[in-house]
């Protein structure tokens, strides 16, 4: 007899516990504004919010006079754990006749980059930053290898 009462109690408790969960589901069912929806991809050009710090790709910012800050010191190349960065420098003769090392090509292989930020961290000139761009896939693998400095760009001399 006692076992029977216990059994009925268990069944009642079971039904109660199930109804509690179902009630919660029902609550969400009748309150559609509480639904969990992340909008994508229709809003990817309009309302999407990408945080400022989001590490999408490495960029070499240029100012309005097509000048960058990179001195071709190759510290970023050494700091990169994957060999993503290749810096090709050229030697030119300055106005005063001294030979100077300048940046020729800042080659960046996006396909090998893990966005760890070591290159940005290592740069003494703050020449490179991370850009919050996304959807960077391309159809051709060679398109992933980019030259970041624009053609004809020059080193921005420090204002002293």
């Amino acid at each position: 007899m006692r076992a029977l009462i216990q059994y009925i109690k268990d069944v009642a408790q079971g039904f109660y516990s199930l109804s509690q969960g179902l009630l919660l589901t029902l609550k969400y069912f009748v309150r559609p504004w509480k639904h969990i929806v992340e909008q994508y991809p229709e809003n990817r050009t309009t309302t999407i919010y990408i945080p400022e710090k989001f590490a999408g790709e490495v960029v070499l910012p240029h100012d309005e006079n097509n000048r960058h800050k990179c001195t071709a010191c190759t510290l970023c190349e050494m700091a990169c754990p994957n060999g993503t960065i290749k810096i090709i420098s050229a030697t030119i003769e300055g106005e005063d006749g001294k030979k100077k090392k300048v940046l020729d090509k800042w080659v960046y292989n996006l396909g090998m980059c893990t966005m760890c930020g070591q290159c940005v961290d290592a740069c003494p000139q703050d020449a490179i930053t991370m850009k919050n761009s996304f959807e960077l896939s391309v159809y051709n693998r060679n398109d992933l290898i980019k030259v970041l400095n624009k053609p004809g760009s020059k080193l921005k001399e420090k204002e002293s």
Partner: protein
């Protein structure tokens, strides 16, 4: 006519082998379990590893001390911050660098948030393994909000590489504190929802209670750590016994349960989420001002010697052992991963039970396969 009297063949049982995985949804990764079954009863269980072995330890030995930290995010990807913290602490031990107080506070905040995300993902996937789909989305709702905070402050969502030798990579945003506070209020409300939806559910309880019993002695001899061992009554929280980064100043409870079964493991993890929130609440209002990073040289060289640092990840004790020969790369790096030891508990707790209980045991041990293989 003569065949009439011959006996019918006796009911015969035969053992047979079923491969679960490597591409099975409930193994949460590429783990292959070779289960020998007799009917529905598990007679033997043999995990096959190596499907996602990348040789992280060896790769680390060919990279500089600052560089290899990003690789450890890829071991236990749900505890990426804590893995980075372990490596940073080991390197700081060698360099004898004092980490600024602000960096320590940020580290603890991030580590506890990471623990929250990890346990929330576990909660969702645990319920999904046992047949409930809705909790998975509810868990991802809160996890998404925390990942947004990570994205805004560290730049990445999953493999952050944020904690670095000497401190943290960048300072936190100015709105970090207010955003986190509003989020914590929400998460606390949602934890109550979790309780009504799953914890109180009779079906869920019956599937976990008394299933996958891991006795305390076995947990010790198998080297289990983390919530898996604490549910067997083994007090082993590294944050309590070997405090790092200022955990000794904080007030939090080490959750230990004596049930030894899957239900205890569930309860311990749910309670740990509350403790993580409690820890965050203590620091959030008084993050010290000042530097977020100690200045280090461009190329770090550790003095000759051996350095060991252990931390508590979301799944147990992670040990980082560095042998340095004075160069700019580690001579030997050994990572003691919590999941590898916890996987050892899977066979003894499931042999003899039904195959349906295997999923319950696996779900509550909470394995992350890339951490097992490394």
């Amino acid at each position: 006519m003569e065949n009439l009297n011959t006996e019918l063949p006796k009911e015969m049982t035969e053992e047979f082998v079923v491969n679960i995985g490597p591409q099975h949804p409930s193994t949460h990764g590429v783990l292959r379990l070779q289960a020998t079954l007799d009917g529905e009863t598990i007679k033997d269980l043999l995990p096959h590893l190596g499907y996602i072995h990348r040789g992280i330890e060896k790769m680390c030995e060919s990279l500089g001390y600052k560089q290899f930290i990003y690789l450890t995010s890829r071991m236990d990807y749900l505890s990426a911050h804590i893995n980075n913290q372990a490596c940073s602490l080991a390197i700081e031990k060698g360099l004898q660098v004092e980490v600024p107080a602000r960096a320590k506070a940020i580290r603890i905040l991030m580590a506890e948030l990471q623990r929250l995300t990890s346990h929330e993902l576990w909660w969702g996937s645990c319920a999904m393994d046992l047949g409930a789909v809705t909790p998975f989305f509810l868990a991802f709702r809160d996890r998404e909000r925390i990942l947004e905070i990570f994205e805004e402050n560290t730049g990445n969502r999953l493999t952050m590489n944020y904690i670095t030798p000497g401190g943290v990579m960048t300072d936190i945003n100015s709105d970090f504190v207010t955003r986190l506070k509003t989020l914590l209020v929400k998460i606390k409300e949602h934890l109550k929802e979790y309780e009504t939806l799953i914890t109180g559910n009779i079906i869920f309880q019956r599937r976990l209670k008394g299933v996958g019993v891991l006795p305390k002695e076995l947990a010790i001899s198998l080297g289990c750590t983390g919530p898996t061992a604490r549910a067997s009554g083994l007090s082993c929280d590294v944050r309590k016994y070997y405090p790092y980064d200022g955990y000794e100043k904080l007030d939090f409870k080490e959750i230990v349960a004596d049930g030894c079964d899957s239900w205890s493991r569930y309860v311990v993890r749910m309670e740990e989420m509350r403790q993580s929130i409690h820890i965050i609440e203590q620091i959030i209002d008084n993050i010290p001002e000042g530097e977020y990073r100690a200045k280090l040289k461009g190329i770090v060289k550790l003095p000759v010697g051996e350095y060991y640092q252990r931390v508590e990840t979301a799944r147990g004790e992670l040990g980082v052992y560095i042998v340095s020969d004075g160069g700019n790369k580690p001579y030997r790096l050994k990572l003691r991963a919590p999941n590898f030891s916890n996987l050892g508990a899977l066979k003894p707790i499931t042999v003899g039970s039904k195959i349906g209980d295997l999923m319950a045991s696996m779900a509550t041990i909470d394995l992350v396969i890339p951490d097992i293989d490394r």
